[in-house]
Symmetry: C2
Subunit: 197 residues, 2 copies
DNA sequence: GGAATAATGTAACACCGTTACGCAAAGGTG
DNA sequence: CACCTTTGCGTAACGGTGTTACATTATTCC
């Protein structure tokens, strides 16, 4: 009953895509409800009907970040070398994600312009993506390559290093040609350091 | 000649302190020219006379971050163990700085709510602080503990790991009691991994 | 054909950063 | 002392923001 919905999930994903594009191009400050609505030829009502508020749209962007990561991790095959598998998850999945979606790193990981309780709203998506990485760290633990560390501790450290490398590269603080090598070298040194305790 | 200045550098540092406090308490979005001016019983003119714009005030906060880091690095003594000296620079200087001044990490390092050209305005301060760290990495290189890596590459990796650990801890993603241990373990594993190439 | 219901478009509100304008307070000059 | 110049300060306005109350539209049920 009532007036039929005009703004469906197709409009929602169009708004998300437009929002990500705006943040990539002009920064998060340039993301306004009016602008993202105009970008898809809709009114601001579309945003408020689909996401409730500007914060709701930002939360959806954060969740999107982890859904993309989860899918990419599932698509990356594993080998008989768990140490290298973990490093490649960082280089081929996380680094590629960051380069393709810098705005989603700033929103989903750095929580830019977000209150802590807002970030909690996509924590489930974050935990699911982290579970994929945890699997790879667990295989390292099974091989006795984690020393006295727990899987949780190693996972925490690995994600921290990935995020730090991502932040540096996005700020242009790596030599352009050797960025991938620095990722591989740094993650490799970390897991090598784990092996010898 | 002309009317004497009423807003001197004492007001400037009071504004900076108030601004940092506002960002710590309510986030960067809550930082407005009117609010920071009211916090020190001044008008918005004070901010525009001393810093030119809100961006100018944010740039001054970013520079302050690196000045504090530089002073703290100079104050930390070195021992005969360059590997441990570097790890302690991360744990006792960078981690303490981040816990004491979370707003300055978000501004000076993560460049939150900032255009790239704005961030360039405190790059000199950043480079000077980085030079202190470079000295410690250089002592590691002299001891042959860097493998084939250059000092610049190792410095880049070290700062990335510190920044990633800081981001995780500020988001409350570390177990409260074992955060310092995780910093020390992760930075230690990194330099240990460097040693064995 | 109304009546009820739900979604949409619009206009207003309070806030923001910024700036043009008028005023205030000093020194130089007669 | 009176006047002018110069400089800094306070205020009010402008266009922008997120949000919401209200009127309008479009559907289904009776």
């Amino acid at each position: 009953m009532g007036r039929p919905r005009e703004y469906d999930e197709r409009v929602a994903s169009a708004l998300l895509e437009a929002a990500e594009h705006i943040v990539d191009a002009d920064g998060l400050d340039a993301l306004s409800v009016r602008r993202v609505a105009n970008a898809v030829e809709a009114t601001t009502r579309a945003v408020y009907s689909l996401f409730g508020s500007k914060d709701g749209l930002v939360v959806a962007l954060g969740a999107r970040a982890f859904h993309l990561l989860e899918a990419a991790l599932d698509a990356l095959p594993t080998t008989s070398d768990p140490a290298n598998d973990l490093v490649e998850a960082g280089v081929l999945v996380f680094r590629r994600f960051v380069l393709d979606h810098p705005a989603l790193l700033r929103i989903g990981f750095q929580h830019e312009g977000m209150s802590p309780d807002l970030a909690c709203q996509f924590r489930d998506a974050s935990d699911q993506a982290l579970a994929r990485l945890q699997g790879r760290v667990g295989r390292l633990a099974e091989g006795g390559q984690l020393g006295q560390r727990s899987v949780a501790e190693a996972l925490c450290a690995f994600t921290a290093v990935c995020e730090g490398l991502a932040a540096l590269e996005l700020r242009g603080r790596m030599l352009p040609g050797s960025a991938e090598a620095l990722w591989r070298d740094t993650l490799g040194a970390l897991v090598a350091g784990w092996r010898i305790t």
